[in-house]
């Protein structure tokens, strides 16, 4: 089973949920946590352990100016403005390139070939006997998160139980993470911003056909608008976590709620049963 934890709005508690759900599950089974928030991975803060790092590369074009006839077809093809062909010179802007390979295909002179460029890393560690932690990390200055997410997820491809922590928002990195997941936990908070971005995130999961359930975090008890939205859209509120100074303090120290307050393990175990039902997996 593959679960994603997403939110729409940032800072609602995705990582807190993913880390505690995984920790609770490791009491009885093997779990792989994948940090797909590759611009700002932080799951490793809750599970410090020695890690093995692997480079992730992406192809970028290299122009052979001895063969190039400066026809400009590659520039015309490139939707991202990464290729500029002057009268006797080609300028390539690697940070604009999306590694689509189109320029190599349209070049009538075979003057363009691709070479790998480092775009990020994946790290893998075993912080607990039954826990694998995989983190993707984007290289500073590289704007393309998707290939790193793909590489991180691939490392978990054969693992039976995988929890993916997504980036905030609803753009490509979230879509890439949700791809292939059996269910998605959407973590929201008791604010108008939380509800607004939850609506966007629900739209994404619906379009991708990934069943979703909701967690209301930082709840001040005034969640009527969120609850009504969930009822209107046939979404279950699977868990409500109160606005609580102690929970915040535990989290800020890099500790796990389920370890410091073991009574929470029951709530996360119940959450997992609900996720399994969402995913259509009999547990």
């Amino acid at each position: 089973m593959r679960l994603a934890v997403a939110s729409g709005k940032g800072g609602t508690g995705k990582t807190m949920v993913a880390a505690n759900l995984a920790f609770m599950l490791t009491q009885t089974e093997r779990v792989t946590l994948v940090d797909c928030d590759v611009e700002e991975p932080n799951l490793h803060l809750f599970f410090p352990a020695p890690a093995t790092t692997t480079e992730v590369t992406g192809p970028v074009p290299v122009v052979d100016e001895n063969t190039c006839q400066y026809c400009g077809l590659c520039e015309e093809f490139c939707q991202y403005g990464a290729m500029t062909v002057l009268r006797s010179r080609v300028l390539f802007f690697p940070e604009l390139c999306h590694s689509c390979g189109g320029c190599t295909l349209v070049c009538p002179n075979g003057a363009i070939h691709e070479e790998p460029k480092q775009i990020g890393t994946t790290t893998i560690s075993t912080p607990l006997p039954r826990l694998n932690l995989i983190s993707g990390m984007l290289k500073t200055g590289n704007p393309h998160a998707v290939p790193i997410i793909r590489a991180a997820k691939k490392l978990a491809a054969s693992d039976p139980l995988v929890i993916c922590d997504t980036a905030p928002g609803t753009s490509c990195p979230v879509v890439e993470t949700l791809d292939g997941c059996d269910a998605c936990i959407l973590v929201t908070e008791s604010t108008p911003f939380g509800l607004h971005d939850l609506q966007l995130a629900v739209d994404v999961t619906a379009r991708l056909g990934v069943p979703a359930g909701i967690i209301i975090n930082w709840s001040d008890g005034k969640d009527q608008a969120t609850i009504e939205f969930c009822m209107d859209h046939d979404l279950e509120v699977m868990m409500t976590i109160p606005f609580d100074r102690e929970i915040a303090a535990i989290q800020s120290r890099g500790e796990l709620l389920c370890r410091v307050r073991p009574e929470w393990q029951k709530a996360f175990a119940a959450l997992f049963v609900k996720c399994s039902t969402l995913a259509g997996v009999d547990r």
Binding site: E75, C78, Q79, Y80, G81, A82, T84, L86, R89, L91, F93, L96
Partner: protein
């Protein structure tokens, strides 16, 4: 010599535009005759990489100098490689005013 101004509109009375790649209009003016042509920038609302593409418009029109408020790094590299000199004008006045300042040689050339 052809000089290009970034502008918010299509006439010489239009306010100048500080941004280069996302300028609504490029006004290309023949400095000897005063004749001009206004080109609507097709990349004004583009997602990304608009600088180099906009720079190609100037190259295609044989522009020799650009007067704009701010030119990004990628566009700057293309323009410099094509031998187009860049001058900074960002007081928000009209294209006509920018041209006056340019002919009086009071604009600072940016590298």
């Amino acid at each position: 010599m052809k000089v290009c101004f970034t502008a918010k509109g299509a006439t010489l009375d239009s306010p100048s535009e500080d941004r280069f790649g996302r300028a609504p209009y490029f006004i290309i003016l023949e400095s000897e005759t005063g004749a001009f042509e206004a080109i609507q920038n097709p990349y004004a609302d583009g997602a990304g990489g608009v600088g180099p593409k906009a720079a190609q418009i100037l190259i295609a029109h044989d522009v020799k100098a650009l007067i704009s408020g701010q030119v990004g790094g990628n566009a700057r590299e293309v323009l410099a490689s094509a031998g187009i000199s860049m001058y900074t004008y960002r007081t928000g006045g009209s294209v006509k005013d920018a041209f006056d300042q340019f002919t009086k040689n009071s604009l600072v050339r940016s590298e």
